[in-house]
Amino acid sequence: MATDAGAIPAAAHSAAPPHPLVEFWRYFRQNKGALAGLGVIIFLGLVAIFADVLAPHPPAEQFRDALLRPPVWQDGGTWRFVLGTDDIGRDILSRLTHGARVSMAVGVFVIALGLLVGVVLGLTAGFFSGPVDIAIMRAMDTLLAMPALLLAIVVVAILGPGLFNAMLAVSVVVLPGFARLTRAAVLTELSKDYVTAARMTGARLPRLMFITVLPNCLAPLIVQATLGFSTAILDTAALGFLGLGAQPPTPEWGTMLSDALQFIQRAWWVVTLPGAAILLTVLAFNLMGDGLRDALDPKLKR
């Protein structure tokens, strides 16, 4: 309220309204959780990029003299393996570091593919009403009606286990969300005057779809994509855990967990650490997604 009162003379002085990105940042900045999420994501991104430099050892190298070595702060720990080693003597810190690369790549790939296919399907359904629309949306309904992991399992059953196939499977899981969102946004936008104006000036359909309408549907898609990152990472890790995703010795966090299952009674660190990495990553993306939604959703703006 007091800021409002102060804003009136200020607005009168500055002629141009702030750039939308500046305004967005102003809202986003107020959300401490979202900022923390962004921080963690940037950190993980850097770790993923510089994994080779940061990791003290190659992720698959086995130190036969150091099996199930505990982290450095426990009895028997050594600075050589800061977070300990697993049952065949691989350095956990190095595997976690490379795991960040895998997880980030998974997120980027899954979201890129899901977004691409989903947006094209959603745009098509939105622009061509009638049988095309119905066919696409019923197919999306079917995918949405299946429990996510069940659907992913069907896809993996068809394609066979493996990290790449698991990513494809999870893309299929996140795709209908994007398609629905795009279609809904397109339908709202299509009724607006600027689209009619563009049509009257003779814009061709692809231009109308991708240049005129799509940019105006971006806000919800960005939010959904950020939240989808967490789904992608979580579900791919779950598939890895079930033995249907990344196969050993890939340093994928979910796969690391499933390898560690039998050592749960003896070596807590092989179980705890990969899961904590998953939780931290997923939490960061959820926090940032929530913050983005609050900052981008005009309905919630005061």
Partner: protein, 336 residues
């Protein structure tokens, strides 16, 4: 009301057909000969092979094959396991109660904790309690439950030794399955030792499985309550001089519950996804574990039939929730 029911039913039919199409396509898309996939990868004599091909209609056009598949489903034929040679449906039915028992306990825990937590958080907005509930709920929402289950085992089974690690009941007990719900069966047989053991086995997996629904329910209840508490009719209720528990617990809650119930209903799908993971961790003999083992054994008819059955049940439950939503929302019940 009838029209409402009918529209919902007509919406679910194409979705169901879509799922059958998916499972039908699955066997045909998997690399390899469908007959060998369906009957196991053993050497089959030429004549037997052709006989099978004719029996299955695999020599017919693909659309006819799909029609045959639908016909089989209509007669309750969901295929036969390659490994055990038992019908998929009977295997499913014998394992399903275990999953239901686990899921019902999980969702009950989630509602019993999540609902009050959400309500109190909304009433005491911005209090320490509110911030704690919201923080915990976001963490729970982001939780990889396959890891969370392991942590629970690590703490309660390994370190504290309070609960067993896996299974539904200690081996020394046996209870005649009547309902398939071990807790119920043990109670009905008066086997209290078995009941205790079953409860001990159940509590940890249920807690793991209930975590995400708990987080979702708490969040949803809070935001729904916050919205409702600002409504004019809440002011009216307070203007009548009603005690606060009645304003919050009756006037506000009744309205706030409508979206919450939908969300609880939507958790059924997530619950099944979660059950696949939880059952695998806790060796819980339900359909989730069964499906994963079948995939590992390449028992494709089981995967095909099991996925279809599981997905159908999820869709049916969602439909029921939709109808219930209509029942508690008078605007839909009386309106059209």
């Amino acid at each position: 009301m009838l029209r409402f029911l009918l529209t919902r039913l007509t919406l679910i039919v194409p979705t169901f057909l879509g799922v059958t199409l998916l499972t039908f396509a699955m066997i045909r898309l998997i690399p390899g000969d469908p007959i060998l996939l369906i009957f196991g990868e053993r050497n089959v004599e030429e004549s037997v092979y052709n006989q099978m091909k004719a029996d299955l209609g695999l020599d017919k056009p693909i659309l006819v094959q799909y029609a045959y598949y639908l016909g089989d489903l209509a007669h309750g034929k969901f295929g036969t396991s390659i490994i055990t040679r038992t019908p998929v449906l009977s295997e499913f039915l014998s394992l399903f109660p275990a999953t239901v028992e686990l899921s019902l306990t999980a969702i009950t825990l989630a509602v019993l904790i999540g609902l009050p937590a959400g309500i109190i958080a909304a009433v005491r907005r911005n209090s320490v309690f509110d911030h704690t509930v919201m923080g915990a709920s976001l963490t729970g929402y982001s939780m990889p439950i396959f890891w969370w289950g392991l942590l629970l085992i690590l703490l309660f089974s390994v370190t504290l030794g309070w609960t067993p690690v896996s299974g539904r009941m200690a081996v020394k007990y046996f209870v005649e399955p009547v309902t398939g719900f071990v807790l119920l069966d043990a109670a009905m047989a008066g086997e209290w030792g078995a009941f205790r053991s079953a409860l001990q086995h159940l509590i940890l997996p249920a807690a793991a499985l209930g975590t995400i629904p708990l987080a979702v329910i708490a969040r949803m209840t809070r935001s729904s309550m916050l919205e409702v508490l600002n409504e004019d009719y809440i002011r009216t209720a307070r203007a009548k001089g009603l005690p606060p528990w009645r304003v919050v617990g009756l006037h506000a809650l009744r309205n706030a519950l409508i979206p919450v119930i939908t969300v609880i209903g939507l958790q059924v799908g997530a619950l099944l996804s979660g059950a696949i993971l939880t059952e695998t961790i806790f060796s819980w003999p339900g359909i989730g574990k069964w499906l994963i083992e079948s995939i590992r054994r390449r028992d494709y008819p089981v995967v095909q039939g099991g996925v279809l059955l599981a997905a159908s049940i999820v869709m049916l439950v969602n439909l029921t929730v939709d109808v219930m939503y209509g029942l508690i929302n008078p605007r839909i019940r009386k309106g059209r």
